[in-house]
Symmetry: D3
Subunit: 324 residues, 6 copies
């Protein structure tokens, strides 16, 4: 039996408290203030950047619900992230469902506080626009690298004349100096596009785009080796759009795209993040109204645990302290 | 056999073309320009005014789909609205899903054109905020009366500091002089409220609120007699929020409230509109992502037909020409 | 404790065999040959007469499944039909899903055998066309009377140039002398129609049509008193189309029509059948693919039990022996 | 504007914090210890007493989720229970999903502590067996009265040779002297039964059973006047089985029975509880796996608010202090 | 930016008109007459050839709906089929849901007109029987080749004594000289069969059957190279039964068979069609009543786009003009 | 045409009796007594060993329903198990849903009778606890080997202080001498665990655990070669937990775990069982309330057929007679 650490941030024991009991927090962890934890599990219930099918605002609630099925110890490594790090449920960022601009400010501020408290955020969205204010909140002396799993590159300039929506966050983040395009890689991109020139900006900026078809032919290990080389050892953000995964395994999302990652591939990809200096991560675009079976939220919750393990895999003392 | 009128605006004949065939227009009617018709069936696929559960943006599409089940002749009166009036599918108003203010302007403009063309609009939403720009588009020399069926009075002042959302349209419309509060009645209102003072503004303004409990004890005929007296013979708008109907019969809506109208009551209410001078009408808050069975959209489509019959029941020559 | 009768046709005891156990037969009764029983529960899995949304072919299977929830004794009368009559599951009539004409012949033949064996059939459809071959199979020296609960009168002449479909069975049955139109009553009819002249044939033939609106104002007792007077004491067929019930309570049907019977009204109606000389009965148009919750099949199974009680309520010795 | 009371037990303000945000507690209330509150909202996630279709163990979780739609102030009375009483989410009673006997002891003990702390429990089940250990936990010097809304009387002696299941709690409670059968009324009972003698024990014990059919003919006011007379002014428990409500409005339950209460009737019934000395109450048999739309949990959450208002309606100083 | 061609057959721009707006046509393209287009997108809403679970009659409607998610430009090739070819929605073929023989004639005639107008049809079914009248409509001087993706070979002789159903079209088409069996290949065939001799006729006729297991071991490129060799350069029809794809990715179909193509494999297969001289193509057996999530229709719509790109990939001037 | 054997145990012919007709037995086979058959298809509708999400008690009923889609002849081998062996539906084992201990005894006794009758059982659960009493019922002179496909090893010692639940059967079976741990292999194990020491007992006992990740890298043939070597030629039990398959392909199960077997892999694994001396087999944890689409039950039914073929593949005369 692994010896339990002395802190209070343990998931409930499922041999004593049934998984279906009590209010649902992320992974059945205690509610926490950011200052108490190493990893802050946070929800951002905002989908005001969605151009077509909304619903991701309900993502944090349902991922909490399904994360009751998450267990403690990774079966391959035998390590529990909860033994290594203090992990807690830091609630949801405030948002204004009627005002995207105000929401961006509220979210940024919330993450600035988490960052200031010394915790690394592991966030559940919300649509992909939320990554922009998160990155603003984590803003530091140098831009972050990015490893981005998604069906879509989200580097459009605008939709409907609007520059801040879930199709544009990474373009804005590069423009604002939050991300270093030379240290960015997008994996799993696929599907028809609105314009043949769609990827030109990204490529010109130096972003590496790995189409799904390239991924299929090379496999996770080869692609992630390249990803590691691109982001290097400096702080890097990890963004996981659930629509990167195939819609048979994650149907509840606003912009499904057939031909996606299997969950086995997605797990393999995340497990290969081990050496990356992860400054924060998110899982976005889980849309419960489009997910009656709950499978998408379950897939999301399981990927959240994998990402958490990746964040715990590297000796915390080896993680750059959050530069303030 | 009723003699068919000479115009081209007939629903497809279900004894020849199956109800499941072809692209879905409202009631299987031809696509039309507003200038060609007496009644313009219009969609407004906008739900940017929704504070909690979105999805009404998909309402027009799915009401079109379910309206394939609508037939031609009312079984009680024996009249077909399509024999009396030219009715067509005038498409959807343009909207910007990322910009509520722009959407209000786009919708207003679309309805101004319909109004100018001499057609009366019968609209499918979208959330209830859309009624505001519709009323702006129909703005005339005098404010309109209102008969409003709903679980909620939608006369709040603001939510999240925002004054233009689906909880506020009727307050704004009164403030803007679009509606005459003395000629307004709201029927079916029920459910707990956020603040005990919620209805004070409405009552002070002179709006008549009929709680569901009062409706239950009085019945449709008595309540609608009062409604007729309140709105009188001058032009009146009819707004039907699908959540006025019980969630067992219309589950697919963002703010369901148990204890609502049965569909039989709702049909009775609309059939008692016959003498009203209807300048336009809408059916709002059908949210297909929350309606997997399609029953809500079917209920909505059937109510749309009932409203259409009510609009046709009064001799068109007796309807005030749209004042421009 | 009611003394158990000596025959073998008892439902399984739910205090010993769980309701979810074993293959599903109607009401957990034994499989039987028609010659062994007084009432033959039969399925007719045919929906080849359906003009729009099919699926009723799966009705018998799913009504069997949901009928596992049916119990033994009526709570109001205290009588168990199984103590009075031998009731068994006589399987499904043979059908050819690719050939309506052949199916009509197969079904007719199956019911002729049941009739010849001296059992009264209580059938689960299938779409409403099946009532025609059932009536042919039950053909006797004199036409039967009919009490018919439905949203639609099903007395059209043809659809798509076809005279044998689920919109026409009662017209054909009258034309063939199977039913006496003067002893026919249709209750619950409602909804828009394709042609204003739709009901003219029926009325000219002498069929009594009770619109839902008339039913609402008069109530079950008054309407059923009239029904009893119309059919008199001679053999009468009872046909219950599940779409007579409101789609909130029976959504899984091909042609739902809002504003229908509540189940409480439907139960009251059937309980008022007690004095009728029931020669056979059916429950049709349950469409499981449109009924993911199973509520429609459950409603159907419960109505089947009520009809069975009505068939058992009259002293069997007082029922006309099946004339052969 | 009602002046807010000084205690901390307020629901979150939905004009500031969206209803979809954060972990779900009952009615978005703070988590509380029983000693801090007047009314303890408690979950009992146990369905080990279920003979057929399980799932009620998930009831507390999903009722919490849907109760985010509950608001603060009753629209008819204008009073907020939260202004009158301190109400908090006291979590779930411990249970052992693999051991019914141990669960009964754990639940009893949990409610004994709530009772000792001076709070009145308002509980969400779980199946109906949980009412037995709750009543044991509330055991006082004298048996309680009972007002019981349900489709089933739950006074069987045993199923499968087992005397402690969701068909037997009220028989056991009478036998154990927890309830006074002369002060018990059961309303809404209906549906076929397994044995004609089913109700004999209950009637012999003096329990008043009001079948649904009697309720329909008399109406809520008359029945509840009788209920008030039966229970009198002494402490009384209120138990609401969600299957008392019609399955069209509450489909997600293990033993649905057509022909039930409408929600309007259910609301009327609860509102007529105002004068009753309510020692505790529960809402049971919500089964989320059978409720994909969430309508049952929403109905349950709304009824919970109505019961809470009934508990708050009587001046708390007029409520018997919990006898210890 | 690709320069837009001068014709009017463009999908709506999703940066201006939201994907959820307006009536749904295939890929949001204009309605067209066959004479106006190079590729005619057509629906055939007929499932009267189905032996078990029907519903494919609703396929065209729902594929239209889900095809709103289809974009303009293939991400791998950078080409838009809409820039190369005129593509429009040519509506649905007339059918008689009550008469298979008449439907076969109606469908044949409709496709004869399309063929005569010089357009190549890309059709959405309907069940697989529709391929037979389509091939009759396209009948030319020489039989066509066939590349057929499916779980089933559909070369049975008859079911229920009926020779024209969705299990027999390819046998009939060979017998009628519409297809050249030596130029036919069926890929993905799998699952238990009714008779061990099932494939004997096909093999004797010279049809190449590639079982799923052979496909798995060889991969798309190798199999499609063989397919290309088999059909050669002469006109070839492509038929894609959605049940070729695994039911996890395409659950909404009448005869699901586990162990199917992944969508990635399906996309790879279609992309390898580039050199084939495609005279027409279809996508069949999408059954919306069995597809509540819409995933099957979405998968179908995306495959439709892939097939369209394959039809556009070959220089149109290099496509044989439709021989008349 | 394969010559039909002389026994009466044939599935219904789907070219004559539609697949949707009649009560559902396993694979549309006759009901049988164990003494009449070589393979007894049996249901065990018990889920009282489930710690979290129940529902597997409904598994046998729904697998029967979906197994109507199963056909007669394996497409790869061309053999029909029904031609080689007598296979019948032997009904469900008796269970007590309220008493796990009694259920264990009832189930054991039922399987002892099957074993004594000389039939090999092929069972549908029920949760995984049922394997324990099945193995007790099959107890012979020597412990059996085990090939076990699952996401979980089910070798825990206890949950909630309870030693007999669906997480412990294989530990109990080894302790009781029913299984020989040296002849046990578990394939597909994956997912986070509650304790890092979880697998220690199993490994110490000599059980071979093949994690999913090892399976992915080695493939079915290599792993099954090892399995064959481990179990050797002596009698071996095969247990297939449906959650071994990926939740996209088998969502309806209580403890889904992403990253599972594809159905193609599952089929390949079972087909490689051909040489194993199979004394009995089961398929467990199909939970219909969590499987609204029926895909899980369909997957289960298809796997059941594959297992049946594996049981038939070895010359029956070469199978050890059941030692009594």
């Amino acid at each position: 039996m692994t010896e339990a650490p002395s802190h209070r941030f343990h998931p409930l024991d499922s041999g004593i408290v049934p998984r279906f009991a009590g209010p649902a927090t992320f992974m059945r962890l205690p509610v926490a203030d950011p200052g108490e934890v190493d990893i802050a599990l946070v929800g951002v219930p905002f989908d005001g950047g969605t151009t077509n099918r909304t619903g991701a605002r309900h993502g944090p609630r349902e991922v909490r619900n399904q994360s009751s099925l998450v267990r403690r110890v990774h079966h391959l490594t035998g390590l529990s992230p909860f033994d290594i790090l203090r992990v807690g449920d830091c609630g949801d960022a405030p948002v204004n469902p009627l005002d995207a601009a105000e929401s961006l400010a509220l979210i940024e501020n919330y993450f600035r506080q988490i960052h200031a408290a010394g915790a690394r955020p592991l966030t559940v969205g919300g649509d992909h626009l939320i990554t922009l204010p998160i990155l603003r909140g984590l803003r530091s002396t140098a831009p972050l690298g990015l490893i981005h799993f998604d069906a879509h590159s989200d580097t459009y300039d605008s939709f409907f004349g609007n520059r801040y929506n879930h199709g544009t966050p990474f373009r804005r983040a590069v423009e604002e100096g939050l991300l270093d395009p030379k240290r960015m890689i997008q994996i799993g991109i696929r599907g028809a596009i609105s314009d043949a020139a769609n990827y030109d900006w990204a490529r010109a900026a130096g972003i590496r785009i790995v189409f799904m078809e390239e991924f299929i032919s090379r496999g996770p290990a080869d692609v992630m080796a390249e990803a590691g080389a691109i982001v290097g050892d400096r702080p890097t953000y990890v963004s996981f759009d659930i629509d990167g995964i195939d819609p048979s395994m994650a149907p509840g999302t606003g912009t499904p795209e057939i031909g996606g990652f299997t969950t086995r591939e997605a797990q393999a990809l995340i497990r290969l993040l081990g050496g990356v200096n992860i400054a924060g991560a998110d899982l976005v675009e889980v849309s419960p109204p489009l997910d009656p079976s709950g499978l998408t939220a379950l897939t999301g919750a399981t990927m959240l645990f994998e990402i958490l393990c990746a964040m715990a895999a590297r000796d915390p003392s080896d993680i750059d302290p959050p530069p303030r």
